[in-house]
Symmetry: C2
Subunit: 639 residues, 2 copies
Amino acid sequence: MDMYNVTFLPDGKEVEVEAGITLMQAAEKAGAYINSLCGGKGVCGKCRVQVTNGKVLADKHSIGFLSKEELNEGFVLACQTKVTSDMQVLIPPESRLEEEQIMIQGAVVDYSQPEKVFVTKLPSDPLSLFEPLVQKIYLELKEPSGEDNIADIDRIMRELKRRTEYQSFEISLRCLQGLAPKLRDNNWKVTATVARHGDLWRILQIEPGDTSDQNYGLALDVGTTTVVAQLVNLKSGNVLGVAGSHNLQSHYGEDVISRMVFACSKEKGLNPLHAAVVKNINNMIKTLTKENGIDIKQITAIVAAGNTTMSHLLLGLIPCSIRLDPYVPTAHVFPQIRAAELNIHINPEGTLETVADVASYVGGDIVAGVLACGIADRPEVKALIDVGTNGEIAIGNNDWMVCCSASAGPAFEGGGISCGMRATRGAIERVEINDGRVMYRTIGKAKPRGICGSGLIDSIYELVRNKIIGQDGKFNLSTGNERIVEKDDEAAFIVAFSKETETGKDLAIRESDISNLIRSKGAMFAAIKSLVDYVGLSFNDIDTFFVAGGFGSYLDIPKAIAIGLLPDIDLKKIKFVGNSSLMGARMALLSTHAFERTVRIASRMTNIELSTYLPFMDEYVAALFLPHTDRKLFPSVDY
Amino acid sequence: MDMYNVTFLPDGKEVEVEAGITLMQAAEKAGAYINSLCGGKGVCGKCRVQVTNGKVLADKHSIGFLSKEELNEGFVLACQTKVTSDMQVLIPPESRLEEEQIMIQGAVVDYSQPEKVFVTKLPSDPLSLFEPLVQKIYLELKEPSGEDNIADIDRIMRELKRRTEYQSFEISLRCLQGLAPKLRDNNWKVTATVARHGDLWRILQIEPGDTSDQNYGLALDVGTTTVVAQLVNLKSGNVLGVAGSHNLQSHYGEDVISRMVFACSKEKGLNPLHAAVVKNINNMIKTLTKENGIDIKQITAIVAAGNTTMSHLLLGLIPCSIRLDPYVPTAHVFPQIRAAELNIHINPEGTLETVADVASYVGGDIVAGVLACGIADRPEVKALIDVGTNGEIAIGNNDWMVCCSASAGPAFEGGGISCGMRATRGAIERVEINDGRVMYRTIGKAKPRGICGSGLIDSIYELVRNKIIGQDGKFNLSTGNERIVEKDDEAAFIVAFSKETETGKDLAIRESDISNLIRSKGAMFAAIKSLVDYVGLSFNDIDTFFVAGGFGSYLDIPKAIAIGLLPDIDLKKIKFVGNSSLMGARMALLSTHAFERTVRIASRMTNIELSTYLPFMDEYVAALFLPHTDRKLFPSVDY
C-alpha cells in the first residue's frame, strides 16, 4: 500500500496516509477540521479546499460546486478528492471549523444563567434541594473493639446512615477488595463516594483521609453539531469551566439521519460514531481538568443529555430502527452505567446517567430543557421550542405535557444556505438595513465569513421591511439597489461586499436561500401552531415561551416574530434560554430530585407524531409566507 | 537458573522446575496431589514421599518424622525437600490425595436427601416456592406498529411484567447493546434471562429464540478442605451432577488460620489463595458441563456457601483482620456480583451470590445449614452442629437464634492423629471390637490406608467398651491383647495389621491420639452445653439435633453419644444431615425466598464468643473424660 504525506495549511498539520483515502479522511487523521454538512456525500459543497501542491483529479461533484477559475486554482471538495501523491492543502476560512469559537459558543455565558437556579427556586420546590448524584462523605470511624466488632463495611454503612438521611446502601466488589488495610492504615479516617442508584445508594469507592473537597461532575449536552461539557464542583455546585467541540461524528454525516444511515449501512458502522463522541468527551475532560488543575479520578459523575439518536450513539446502542417506521429506539430510559464502560476517562467507578428520551425524535435534550425551564413544576402553561434541523416543541404544566418534532431543515444552522455558516467566529450574527445601507456585526468582530442563523433571520426581516423582497420571499427587482445582483442565474442581495470579507468574495443571500429559510420557519411555526391547537389552547394561553437553540449568543426575538418563526405574543412572555439541555443536565447532576424528575417528565410527555397528524400540512402551507398567509395571527408586524 | 525434571509416580506426572523449589511445590505444578495438613511447615509429617531417583538431602523435619530405615529408603517430607537434581518421586498411598474418592464424598448421595425438599415442605412455607435466582423467560413479542411503538426494551419489560409477577426490572448496558437487530432478526421471539437483584429483577441477557430449557445453576460448598459443586437445572430444580475436589488452597496451609497467615504475611499473598479456589471451581464446572453435555454459557447463577474466611478468599477480600482480636471481617453480607468478576467461567453475565456470614468464625456454611434444616422456620427449638476443625453450633427457632464456634482441632478430619486420614478411599470408616477381634470397613472397600473421623469415633467407643482403655483414655495395660503394642514409647492399639494394609504398616491408635480425640470431642460437647445453658434450656428441650460434618457417608450416632461427643438425648431427635451447607446453597439457588431468608438468618443469629465466655472453660475440662466427668449427663451409656 502506497503511503503519502499530506500537509494541511494554514496550521501545518501533517499526516501520513494510505493512497486512495479522501482529503476529508486525511484531515480527520491529522486533527485538522474541515467543514461538512452532508457527511462526505459531495452534495453540500461546504468542504472546499485548495490543493497548493500535489496531484489533483477533479470529480463531477467538485465541478458542480466550483467555478472554472476555482478549479484552475486547485480548489476541490475534500470529501470527494483522493490522495494520490504527497499533497499540500490549504483549508480556506469558510471551510475551517474553528475550535476556539465553538468554545465560546459552548460557554453559554449569557443564557445558561441563572447559575443560581437552585437558590432562586421556591424553597418548597424539590428542585431546590441540592443533592448531587454522587457525593463524597468523610468518615471518622470508631475503631473496632470486642464490644463493637461489626464487619468493616457495616461500620462504614452505620456511619453513613448517621451522617446522611439515606438508609439503603450497596457496594461493589471492587470497593470491598482491599478495604480492610485501607481502613487500618489510615486510622479509620476515610472518605466514601456514594452514588444514587434507584432507591438506594451505591458505595463506589473508599479513599484514605478526607477527600470530600475533591468531587467533580460533568454536565454534557451531546448535540448533533456540538458537544458541550460543563465541569461542576459537586460539593459547592459551582460551575468551574465549560468546553465545547464540534461533534466529531460530523465526519460520518452532518445530521442525525445521515449518521444513522452510516451506522446501519455497514458492518460495525456504529463503532466509529460511538468512538467519535467518546473522543469528543475525553478531549474536553482533558482540557477542563488541566485548566482547573484537577485529576480525572476526581470526576465521579456525568449526566448526559442528547437527542434520541445521540443518546444511542453515545451508549453504543444500534440506532437503525429509530429512523424507520414505526420509529422504535432500543430504549427511552437508560441504565445507570460506569462511564468506564464507554471508555470515558473519569474515575473508573464514576457513574454516567443519560437523560431519558420521550420518542425517537424528542430526546433527552428536550427533557432536560423542560426540567431547566421548570415547565413541569407549576400550573401555568409554558412552552419550550428548540430551533434546529429538527425543531422540537414541548408545551404543558405540572398536570399534562405534549411535545412534537418537526423537520425544519438545517437552514437556521447555516445548512442549505449559500452563505450560511454556524454561529462561530466570523459569522454575521446581526444585520440591519436602513435606506439601502447595511450594518452587520460578526462573532468575534472578525472579518465576515458567512451568515449564521440569527443573522439570516435579521436579514430576511430587514429585506422584507425594506421591501427589497416581498412577503412571498421573491425579490422586488424594481427596487434600484446596488446590492441586488444576479448570482448563478438568480437574484441575490449582497450583505457584505468581497472587499470586506475574509474570503474575498461577496456574501449574498439568494432568492433560493430565502425560500429555504421560509420553509424552515414555516415548519417550525406550523408545528407550534399544531401543538397549541391540539391541546385546545391559543398562543395567549401560554404563560412563558422559552426559545432554545444554537443561535450563538444572540437571537432578536422581535425579528423572529416578524418573519413568522415565533408566534406574535407579548414579548415579555418570550425568553431566549440558549442551551437549556446543558442547564438541565447540570441540574440533574446536582440534584437527585431533579434527575428523578427527568424520568417522570419523559414518561409523562405525550408525543404527537406530526407526520401522521393531518392538520400539520395545512398549517405548513399557510406558514410559507412572511410573516404568514393569515395576517391576523401577526397583528404587531409592521410591514 | 538451573532447571530440573521431576517425575511423580505412580501417575508419571512430569514437570520442569527451577532448582531450589520444594517437592511439594513441584507436585503442585505437575498437578500431582500430596497430602498436607500443616501447609508446608514440616510439622504434620503427612507429606511423606519416597525419592526413587535423584539427590536427597534429609532435613531436620524429615529426620524427626521418619525412621532410620525410611530415611535409608529415600523417604523425605515433600514440603521440606528441595529439588537439586532431576528426580523421580513416589507418592505413597497414605500421602496421596485421591481426587476420585473426594468426588464420592462430595456426592452426598445419601445425606443431601431429601432432594425433593421443596415439595416436602408445607405449602404455606415460603421455602416451598420454587423461584430460582436466575430465570429464563421465553417471550413472543408483538411486532411494533405505529399505534404501539414503545422502545424495544420497554416492549420486553411489558411482556415480562405480563408473564411474571415481577414489576421492576433493570438492564445492563451490555444487554442493551445489540438488542435492536437481535429482536428484528429473530422475528421478535427471544428469551430473557432475569436475575433477582434486591427488590427488582435485572435483565442479564436476551437470547434469540427459545432457550428457556437451557438454564443451569451451581450450588457451591466452599469448604476449607473440600470444595463441592452441584449442577442444578434451574428450570426443573433437578440436580444433574455433583463434583468435589480438594481445596487447592491446601498447598498454602491446611486450616483457615494458616491460610490467613499465608495471605497476610507477604505482599499479594491473597492472590494465590483466591486463584486456587477459583481454579477448583472452574475445574468442577468443566467436569460437570462436559459430563452433562451443556455449554458453560448456559450456567447463569452460582450460590456459594463457605465459612467466613473461605468467603473472603473466594471474593478476593483481605482476610487478615478476621483472625486478630477483635475478629472483624471485611463484610458479613456480600454483594451480588458477576461470576466473571472473579474469573469464574460461566455465562459472562451470570451472577454469583455468597451466603451471608454471622461472625468471623460462624460463616455462610452454617447459615446455609440452618436454612436447609429449617431451624428458623418453626417454633420448635432445633440445633445444628457442624463437626470439624472449627466446630460450629446453632440453636434456635423462628423467634430467636444463637450460635458459637469452638476450635476442636483437626482430629475428626484425621489431623493430629498418627493413623488419621480424611474420609477418602481406603479410610477405615467403621470399627467394631468383640472379644478382642476387630472388624472394620473401609471406604471403597479398599485396603486400609488410615482411619477417618467416623472410624476414630467407633474405635474409641469400642476400646472403652471393651475396657482396653479406661474412661480417662489411658490404656489398661493389664488386659492381655496382642493388638496392644508400644509405638514410639507409647501404648497403642493396632486396628489393622501391616499385612492387611495398603501401606504395609500397622494402623494403630496411640494413647496420644486418644488424648487428642478426647480434647476435640470435649471442646465440641462443651460448646454445645455452654450454648444450651446460655439460652436457659436443657438438651431435652431441643426438638431436633442436626449433625453435619465431613465424616464421609456414615457416622454412628449412638457411638458418638457414647464417647460424649453428642448429648445423650432420644436418638430419634438426632439426624445426620451431611453437607447441609451445600443443601442450603442449592435451596437458595432455587428460591429467591430461601436466599432472602439466609440474609435474615445471618442478621438474626446472635454469636456467643466462647473465648470470652467464662463457663466454657469449666465445661471443657469437665468433658475431658469418656463420656464425661458428670455421668448423669449420659444416663444411656452402658460402659
